[in-house]
Symmetry: C2
Subunit: 592 residues, 2 copies
Amino acid sequence: MSDYTPPLDDIDFVLTHLCDIEELSRLEPFTHADPATVRGVVEEAGKFMASAVAPLNHPADQQGLTLSDGVVTTPDGFKEAYAQYVDAGWGAVAFDPEYGGGGFPWVVGVALQELLTTASMAFSMGPLLTQGAIDMLQHHSSAEQKAMYLPKMLTGEWTGSMNLTEPQAGSDVGALITKAVPAADGSYRISGQKIFITFGEHDMAENIVHLVLARTPDAPPGTKGISCFIVPKFLVEDDGSPGERNGVTCVSIEHKMGIHASPTCTLVYEGAVGYLIGDENQGMRYMFTMMNNARLSVGLEGLALAERSHQQSVAFAKERLQGRAVGAEPGVQSPIIEHADVRRMLLTQKALIEAMRGLMYLNGRAIDLAQHHPDEAVRQKNAEIADLYTPLSKAWGTDMGLECTSLGIQVHGGMGYIEETGAAQHFRDARIPPIYEGTNGIQAMDLVGRKLPMRGGAVVTEHLDTMTATAEALVGSGDDDLVAVGARLVEGVAACRQATTWLIEHGLVDPNDALAGSTPYLRLLATVTGGWVLGREALAARRDGAEEPEAFRDAKVVTARFFAESLLPPSLGLVHAVTSGATPLYADSLFV
Amino acid sequence: MSDYTPPLDDIDFVLTHLCDIEELSRLEPFTHADPATVRGVVEEAGKFMASAVAPLNHPADQQGLTLSDGVVTTPDGFKEAYAQYVDAGWGAVAFDPEYGGGGFPWVVGVALQELLTTASMAFSMGPLLTQGAIDMLQHHSSAEQKAMYLPKMLTGEWTGSMNLTEPQAGSDVGALITKAVPAADGSYRISGQKIFITFGEHDMAENIVHLVLARTPDAPPGTKGISCFIVPKFLVEDDGSPGERNGVTCVSIEHKMGIHASPTCTLVYEGAVGYLIGDENQGMRYMFTMMNNARLSVGLEGLALAERSHQQSVAFAKERLQGRAVGAEPGVQSPIIEHADVRRMLLTQKALIEAMRGLMYLNGRAIDLAQHHPDEAVRQKNAEIADLYTPLSKAWGTDMGLECTSLGIQVHGGMGYIEETGAAQHFRDARIPPIYEGTNGIQAMDLVGRKLPMRGGAVVTEHLDTMTATAEALVGSGDDDLVAVGARLVEGVAACRQATTWLIEHGLVDPNDALAGSTPYLRLLATVTGGWVLGREALAARRDGAEEPEAFRDAKVVTARFFAESLLPPSLGLVHAVTSGATPLYADSLFV
């Protein structure tokens, strides 16, 4: 099946030239994370993921999971690979040293997450959900709770799960009805059913820390009456070891289109012992604080699947002989990578992947600066950037992940449709990230409903100004390729300005007008942002004294130009979709 | 699971107003096919497909196929439903009365094919391949061969299969090596291995007529040395009944991402008795004559899956309660169909479906006129139109089928990713039509390499002129909606002209420049053609004395305008991709 080669040079280029990892390493908590150290960590992580995890991905998909008497058995090799992952401590690299973390910048965690997810998305979901749970506990739990759970969760000895969804409460979290009744000892008794719980049950860790949203008896309706509880699978003894089994049972696992090796569980809570996090009725607020990180992580799944699919496609296209390419020797079959349309597909993948990676790593950098820069104004500014980039990373990243994995099948031709080839798995896996952690429609609503209104639209406008500055630098460079990229970027930013102005004006009058245009707006803004990211990479590649090999730098420029000329221009037409308003969608004659 | 309601009103609208079925019924062979009779046939077919076939689609996908000792067992109910299909004679409606066909126009066959495929794509593939084999035999086999095979194939008692692909010969058919050695009795002995043979073995019919491409001992290399043979599974006795088992065996069936109920077989031929069709070394030429029909049929799969997915999505969106729509009563969950972004997804499906249907039925009409119009000039003109539309129907139709079924999953949210819901099946099924019967990349090469050069580009230019005339009628109508549609269409056609001119000029100099832009060019031309189709429908809906209900006609206009404003404009930006040329794709720095 497909091997995985960690794209270390690409990651290093982004960390160095877009994220300025050197600047980050001068921040107080990151002084140990100098660029050379970061490079070493990323390289080691890549080696581990490629050797220990990546080979499991396809066989695990084909084998799948079993549930018997409430016990989920993961595919062959998962348990052993996870034990190695825990031993190596990869899950803790970007977390707080106080609880055993490595204290590295979040953007380094982003890089590691890309590597892990590309190795195996299904495998990565245990660590991913654990990371979300850690994030929640770090921000909102008590000192005692942190001391009890965080050290084992940071190592990965215990995993976490997030329990929001119920049959009637998916996107509409406020509709949940799971109950939490106070007990005499200050704990609560949790009863209800949760569905779609990723790694809600499995055999890879000695304990699972479920974070569960539920309602206390007198809670107000909707999102204002939701509290968040810790419900460990095994109650924790005083010495910190897992004790009595708690009242939570996995009653079924879903039969899904993809991520066959990631258990998606229905959990039944029957008077399970739960411990309140923070205050009652603050659960939704707590959830929101971890949402940027979690949504960025899901965006990374799009990037990761695209990267894996691309690597497999390039390898296949070099080996598969079919037809005769233009100019090739008569009577001999050419490797299909010599055919123009195959190259178009591969370069489309490459351009989208590099644009996604740049956007998402910048998103990670903004999270770091927002938390750790000494200057309050810089922190604030970067918090806004993280807020703005997050729906782009999540929705555009996962949409493009699906697109790239679809191209991966297409490059394989008929072989791509056969499961043994492995190309189909990436595409099947890629169909869920646009849905979970807030559907991409909800990301678009978040963009126009929450992010665009920040400071009366100024956060978006400043981002557009930043892109204009890059476009001007490109146009002013005197380099033909860079000028061409800059010219298209100028047009792209202009389209974004036009759409932005319309949304700000009309959204105030009728929110549905803005909502109707939200998805095309997100696509437009993200695509132009992708063009900007690659424009910055092209500038870096052509700078004086560049150290990277010439071919590597040339490829960056070619890729940026291809994106600017072939992938960016169609997005400009989305302005019409953004500014059409809601009226046509609500015509009485439709869907009767 | 999802029910299926045949879209009879939509089909009737297209047959009446786009295809002028009344004009077709005045042609000599179609005088019995008056509009009322056609309507009756389509309605009856719809009833049959919805009741006998559609309910099998999802359970059959989940059950799948088994192969044991060379025998393929189809899912529960397939055999019985197929027997009913044969009894009703649905497979013969559009074929020659001389062999038992109904002698209806091909476009009526197109309608029936849509209905059958929407009911179950996997089930439809037996009849589809049989239809292809009939087509080949009608055009190229001897009178004796026709008499022996066609009557039973038209009823469907015997099915057909097409045997082109071998491991080293996929898109590159000329690389095939299966051997055909002449025997003393005038027949041949066929030996070799064929892969990806749809319904190459199954338990639904008493015989299977394999059409097999192979090389005779002295054949020249490449496509010029390919001959086509009839290889029946059971040799036919003098009385026409199936006799001795021929030397062809199914050794494996593929484990595919979708169409789980359609057997994809590896067939081994070991000295099997084969009968030459026509002359030696003419196999590829024969194959080309049936290609328009077969490719249109595959395009219809995109339409069909989109329609099924859309119907299921609308039904789900009306029932599923989540969140509160803008303006809805506080404290009550709204059906998600009230949310703007869900409506956007549903209307996108609807607009694409209706554009596809119009294009494909017009494609069918052109095939009818090309074969049966008394005026040679009209026949020639329509043959060209069919040639031009075919790659658009196939590639754009199947790309949009994938897009629409992806939206279908998205509308379902998390439920869409669970196989029990059935939304995922349509998407999995939809991933193969862009690949087989000539990958969509090959369709694009066909468009720029064979179709665009017809009469020095005049066939394309005349199509653009036809679209301009419609755009002018829309703009001149004085109706706000129609004017808006016309305005966007004018821009669309202008973009097509620009791209067409560039391709004609540059394709002559370097074929790779044209090939590099072929896929974006096909997307551009097809999207604008889709806008034109809907523009024509909108004009028909707003004509004086229209008989269709007002809401139905209003929906046509709203849909055309939505397509023109939201879906068409992004395609204009593809001009840049078309005119970028091959140089960037072939940069030395890429894929090293």
